[in-house]
C-alpha cells in the first residue's frame, strides 16, 4: 500500500534531509571557490543540491496541496494553519530575497574588484620585461651560434667537427650542441649529459624554417626550467657543400628561470581569473541562489511542520466543540502540551466530562420517568374504568382506552382541548364534564356522583369520581360504566319478581279453574233460564281468566327461569320458514290474513349451532309483536331477511314491519319487562327475546324505519364455543333511533 507523501516523510527524516542538504550546500559553497579542497566533487554536489531542492519542493508542494484542499473543504484549523504558513513564508522570503539581492551585488562587485587595470598592466609589463631579458640573452646566444656556424662551415671532417663541437659547447657552457644535415640526420653532437644517447632534435616546423635559410630561436619550457633552443643554417665554403644546421640548447640560468616562471605563473593565474570572471560570477550566483532557495524551502517546510503541530490542538478542539454541539458529550481530546493550549484542551475535557455526567443523569431520570409513564399508561390502558385527566386550565391531558370504549369517542384529536370545547363538540358529555367544572369551582378535593349520559350508543349510567391533583396540577376524572350492571340487577330483580309471582299465582289458579268447572258441571244442568245463562257465562269467564293468568304466569316463568340450552346444528332459514308457515296457518278471527310475510332469505346461509326451540320462541315473539302492533283488520306486512356476515361469521336476521313503530322514549326501555305500549300482553316478549339472544351471545337492536314501522336486528354467531354454551351472557342489546 502506498503511503501519502506527508505520511511518508516523518519530521525526523525531513530534519535529516534538511541537515544533509545544508551540508551539501556548505560543500558546494566551498567547492565554488577556485582550487578548493572538494573541487573534484563540484558537479556531483551541484546535482545533489538540485535533487535535494526538487525533492524538498515536491514534499512542500504535496503538503501545500493537502493544506489547500483542507482550506477549500473548510477543514477546522486549516485557515489558521494556512494563514500562519503564509505569514511564515512571507517573513522568511522577504529578508532572504533582500539578502540575496545584496549578496549578488556584493559578489559581483567583489569579483570585479579583483581585477585592476594597474595590476594587469604591471603583470603584462613584468612578463614583457621577462621576455625582453630572455630576448637579450637569446640574441647574444644567436650571435654566438652564428659565429660557431661560421667556424663550422669550413670543417667537414667528422672527427674535427666532433672535437670542435665539444670545445665550443664547453666554452659556451651549452647543454647540447649538435650539427645536422639539412635532411635532419645527425652529423655530430655534443652533450653535457653523458647519458644522452640521442640529441633533442628540432621538430618539423623548425626544419622548414631552416631549409628556407632562416634562423630559429625559441625559449622552451622544460620540466626542469627554461631552455633556449637556437638553430642556425650552416653554409659550406664551397658551393657544392651541403647545407647543414647547427642547434644549440642552453638552459636558462636558474635565477632567470625561477623569476621568469614566477612572473609567468602570476600572469597566467591572472589571465585565468580574468577569463573565469563570468563563469565565476555565474557559479557564485548559482550557488548562492541554490543555497537561498534551499533555505527558503527549508523555512517553508519547517513552517508547515510547526503550523500543523501548533494548530493541531486547536483543530482537535474545534472538532471536539462541533462534536459536543452535535450531542456527543463523550468527546475527550489528547493533551499533548503543557502550555496554554494544553490547559485549554484539559479544560475542554473537564467540561465535556461534566456535561456527559449531567447528561447521563438526565437521561437516567428521563428513562425512569418514561418507565413510570409507560407503567402508568399500561395500568390505565388495562383499567376497566375510564380515566380522563385535565390540567389546571381544564384542558384534556390524558385518557385511556376504557374511557374511549365507555363513551364510544376517540379522544386522539381532542387532546389539549378545553372542557368547554369538548362540551361544544360532544354535547351529551355535558353531565360528565360538568362534574369536572363543578369540582374545579368548588373547595372540595373530591366529588363522586352517578350520572347518566345519552351517547350515540344509548343511555349510559356512569359512576364518576373526580379528584383534584396536588399542587394545582389539574384534576382527574375516573368513571365506570354501570349501565350493564344496573340492567343486570334490574333483570335479576324482575326475574325474582316473576318467579315469585308465578309461584304465588300459579298455585291457586288450578283449584280456581277446577272449582269453576265443578260448579259448572254440578249446577248448570240444574238451573234454568237466566240463572243458567249467568252461571255459564261466569264459569267460562273464570276459565278464560285462569287460562289468561296461566299464560301470563308461564311467560313469567320463561323469562325468570334459566333454561338448559340444547345446542344443535340446524338450518335457521328452515326454522324461519316453519314458524312463518305456522303463523300463516293461524286463522283466528282477530289474526286474519291481512298480515303478509315477505321472506328474503340468504340461500348460502351456513348451518348454525344454536338452540332451535329457544330461537323458535324468539321468532314467535317478534312475529306476535309485529302482529300486535297494528290495529285489528289493518292490512300490514312483516319482512324477514337473513344474511351471512362472513367477516364476523355471524347470521343476521332483520324483522321490518309496516306498523307505527316504537313510541318515542320506548326504544331505550323496550327490552325491559313490562315496557310495552300495547293494551294487551305481558310486556315480556322483547325482554325474553333479548334474554334468548344473550344466551346465544348474540346482539339484538331495535329501531324505527324512516318510512314507518319498526325494525329489529338480531345477530347470532354461527359457531358457539362449547364453554359458553351453558352460560347466560350479559346481552349487548342496544337501541337506537
Amino acid at each position: 500500500m502506498i503511503k501519502p507523501v506527508h505520511k511518508l516523510v516523518s519530521p525526523a527524516s525531513a530534519a535529516i534531509l534538511c541537515v544533509l542538504l545544508l551540508a551539501a550546500s556548505f560543500l558546494l559553497t566551498i567547492t565554488t571557490q577556485l582550487g578548493a579542497l572538494f573541487g573534484g566533487y563540484y558537479t556531483a554536489l551541484l546535482i545533489v543540491n538540485v535533487i535535494g531542492i526538487v525533492l524538498l519542493s515536491g514534499f512542500i508542494l504535496a503538503a501545500l496541496i493537502r493544506l489547500w484542499r483542507e482550506f477549500k473543504e473548510r477543514t477546522l484549523g486549516s485557515r489558521l494553519t494556512f494563514r500562519f504558513l503564509m505569514t511564515s513564508i512571507l517573513l522568511a522570503a522577504l529578508p532572504l530575497i533582500v539578502m540575496y539581492y545584496f549578496a549578488v551585488q556584493f559578489l559581483s562587485k567583489g569579483i570585479d574588484s579583483w581585477f585592476d587595470v594597474r595590476i594587469e598592466q604591471a603583470l603584462d609589463d613584468a612578463l614583457l620585461l621577462g621576455r625582453s631579458s630572455i630576448e637579450a640573452i637569446k640574441t647574444d646566444l644567436i650571435e654566438e651560434v652564428e659565429r660557431h656556424a661560421l667556424t663550422l662551415s669550413s670543417v667537414t671532417d667528422q672527427l674535427d667537427i666532433v672535437r670542435l663541437l665539444d670545445e665550443l659547447r664547453e666554452a659556451g657552457q651549452y647543454s647540447e650542441m649538435s650539427l645536422y644535415s639539412i635532411n635532419g640526420g645527425i652529423i655530430a653532437s655534443s652533450s653535457a649529459d653523458a647519458l644522452t644517447l640521442l640529441p633533442d632534435a628540432p621538430d618539423a616546423s623548425v626544419w622548414s624554417k631552416v631549409r628556407q635559410g632562416q634562423r630559429f630561436s625559441a625559449l622552451e619550457p622544460q620540466p626542469s626550467g627554461l631552455r633556449l633552443r637556437v638553430v642556425i643554417p650552416v653554409y659550406g665554403v664551397r658551393i657544392s657543400d651541403a647545407l647543414r644546421a647547427l642547434q644549440i640548447l642552453q638552459p636558462m640560468p636558474i635565477r632567470y628561470s625561477q623569476l621568469g616562471e614566477s612572473v609567468q605563473l602570476a600572469s597566467a593565474e591572472y589571465d585565468k581569473l580574468q577569463y573565469l570572471r563570468g563563469p565565476l560570477k555565474f557559479s557564485f550566483v548559482l550557488t548562492l541562489g541554490l543555497v537561498s532557495l534551499m533555505t527558503l524551502l527549508m523555512a517553508i517546510w519547517i513552517g508547515i511542520f510547526f503550523a500543523r503541530r501548533m494548530f493541531a490542538p486547536l483543530r482537535e478542539l474545534a472538532e471536539g466543540t462541533r462534536a459536543v454541539a452535535q450531542g456527543n458529550y463523550e468527546t475527550q481530546l489528547p493533551v499533548t502540551s503543557t502550555d496554554e493550549l494544553g490547559v485549554l484542551v484539559a479544560s475542554f475535557n473537564d467540561m465535556t466530562s461534566q456535561i456527559n455526567r449531567v447528561q447521563t443523569q438526565v437521561k437516567t431520570s428521563q428513562r425512569e420517568t418514561e418507565n413510570q409513564r409507560a407503567y402508568l399508561e399500561t395500568v390505565l390502558s388495562h383499567l376497566s374504568s375510564g380515566v380522563l385527566s385535565f390540567d389546571a386550565e381544564l384542558n384534556l391531558r390524558t385518557y385511556n382506552n376504557a374511557a374511549e370504549q365507555i363513551l364510544n369517542v376517540s379522544f386522539a384529536s381532542l387532546k389539549n382541548t378545553s372542557t368547554g370545547h369538548l362540551v361544544d363538540r360532544l354535547e351529551w358529555t355535558e353531565p360528565l364534564l360538568g362534574l369536572v367544572t363543578k369540582l374545579e369551582q368548588s373547595e372540595r378535593t373530591e366529588l363522586q356522583e352517578e350520572i347518566q349520559v345519552f351517547a350515540a350508543s344509548g343511555r349510559k349510567t356512569l359512576i364518576c369520581r373526580a379528584t383534584k391533583l396536588s399542587q394545582d396540577q389539574g384534576l382527574v376524572l375516573v368513571f365506570d360504566d354501570a349501565t350493564e350492571l344496573i340492567r343486570a340487577q334490574r333483570d335479576a330483580a324482575w326475574g325474582e319478581v316473576a318467579r315469585r309471582l308465578a309461584h304465588e299465582i300459579k298455585n291457586p289458579l288450578t283449584p280456581i279453574a277446577l272449582s269453576a268447572e265443578r260448579i259448572r258441571h254440578k249446577y248448570l244442568h240444574k238451573l234454568e233460564g237466566d240463572n243458567k245463562e249467568t252461571l255459564d257465562r261466569a264459569t267460562r269467564t273464570i276459565a278464560q281468566q285462569v287460562d289468561a293468568m296461566k299464560e301470563m304466569v308461564n311467560a313469567f316463568s320463561s323469562y325468570a327461569q334459566p333454561v338448559k340450552m340444547q345446542f344443535t346444528l340446524f338450518d335457521l332459514n328452515q326454522l324461519v320458514r316453519d314458524v312463518v308457515e305456522l303463523h300463516r296457518a293461524d286463522k283466528t278471527p282477530q289474526k286474519k290474513s291481512v298480515f303478509e310475510f315477505n321472506l328474503t332469505l340468504d340461500d348460502d346461509l351456513p348451518i348454525i349451532n344454536a338452540d332451535p326451540n329457544r330461537l323458535r320462541q324468539v321468532l314467535n315473539n317478534l312475529i306476535i309483536n309485529a302482529r300486535d302492533a297494528q290495529g285489528a283488520g289493518e292490512k300490514t306486512s312483516l319482512t324477514i331477511e337473513s344474511r351471512h356476515r362472513q367477516a364476523e361469521n355471524e347470521i343476521e336476521l332483520r324483522f321490518i314491519d309496516a306498523g307505527p313503530g316504537f313510541e318515542p322514549g320506548m326504544i331505550e326501555r323496550v327490552f325491559e319487562p313490562y315496557a310495552t305500549s300495547k293494551e294487551k300482553g305481558t310486556g315480556l316478549g322483547l325482554a325474553i327475546v333479548r334474554r334468548i339472544v344473550d344466551e346465544h351471545t348474540g346482539l339484538v337492536r331495535v329501531s324505527n324505519v324512516a318510512s314507518g314501522g319498526a325494525k329489529v336486528l338480531i345477530r347470532l354467531p354461527v359457531n358457539r364455543a362449547s364453554d359458553l354454551v351453558d352460560n347466560v351472557c350479559v346481552g349487548r342489546a342496544t337501541g337506537s333511533n
Binding site: L34, D203, P221, Q222, L226, E261, G278, F282, S283, V285
Partner: protein, 188 residues
Amino acid sequence: MFRLAFLPLILALTSLSARADFVITSGTAQHVNGFLTLSATLNLELGNDASEAINSGIPLLIAVQIRLYKKRNYVWDQQLAQWRINREISFHALSGRYIVRSLTPGKFDSFETLSEAATAAGRLSLHWDISALELTTKHKYDLSLRVFPDFEALPAPLRLAAYLTPTWHLGSDWERWHLGFPQAEAVQ
C-alpha cells in the same frame, strides 16, 4: 548581473558557429608477444571556447579511453580491460608556447602553435604489456577508443558552462578496430 543568468544560453549560441569535434582519423591495434601496440591519429579540433580557455591559461585535459573486448557470437562482447590515457595542453605565457604533457606515460613537449600542439597530442603510439589478459588466437578481440575533453579537470566555475555549452562537447564517438595477431597471421 542580468546577463549572468543567461550565460549558458549566450555561450551556447555564440559557440554554435564555431563547432569543432575530436575525430579519430586512423588507427591500428596489434598484439605482439603479450604486448599491445596501438597507433592512432586523432584529429583534435579545438573550438573557440576550448582554445580561448587554453590561451587564458586554463589547461585542457584530453582523455583517451581504450577498451578491449572479446568477441562473442551470440551475446554481447565481453569487456576484458579498460585504460585511460590523459594528455594535457596548456599555454606557457612567458615563452608563448603550447605545452603538451603526456601524463601516462610521462612526456613533455612544447609547440609554437596550438594546432601543432593539438596535432602532437593527437598522435598516439602506445605499447604496453597485456600478457596478464592471456589473449589467444582462438578468439577474436576488438579494441575501442574514444577521445574527449575531461570537464571535471576544468576549474569548478567553468565546469557547469562546459557541461551546458554544446561547443565544449568535443568528444569523439567510439571507434573500434580488430586486434591483429601479426605473428599468428605470419605463421598461417
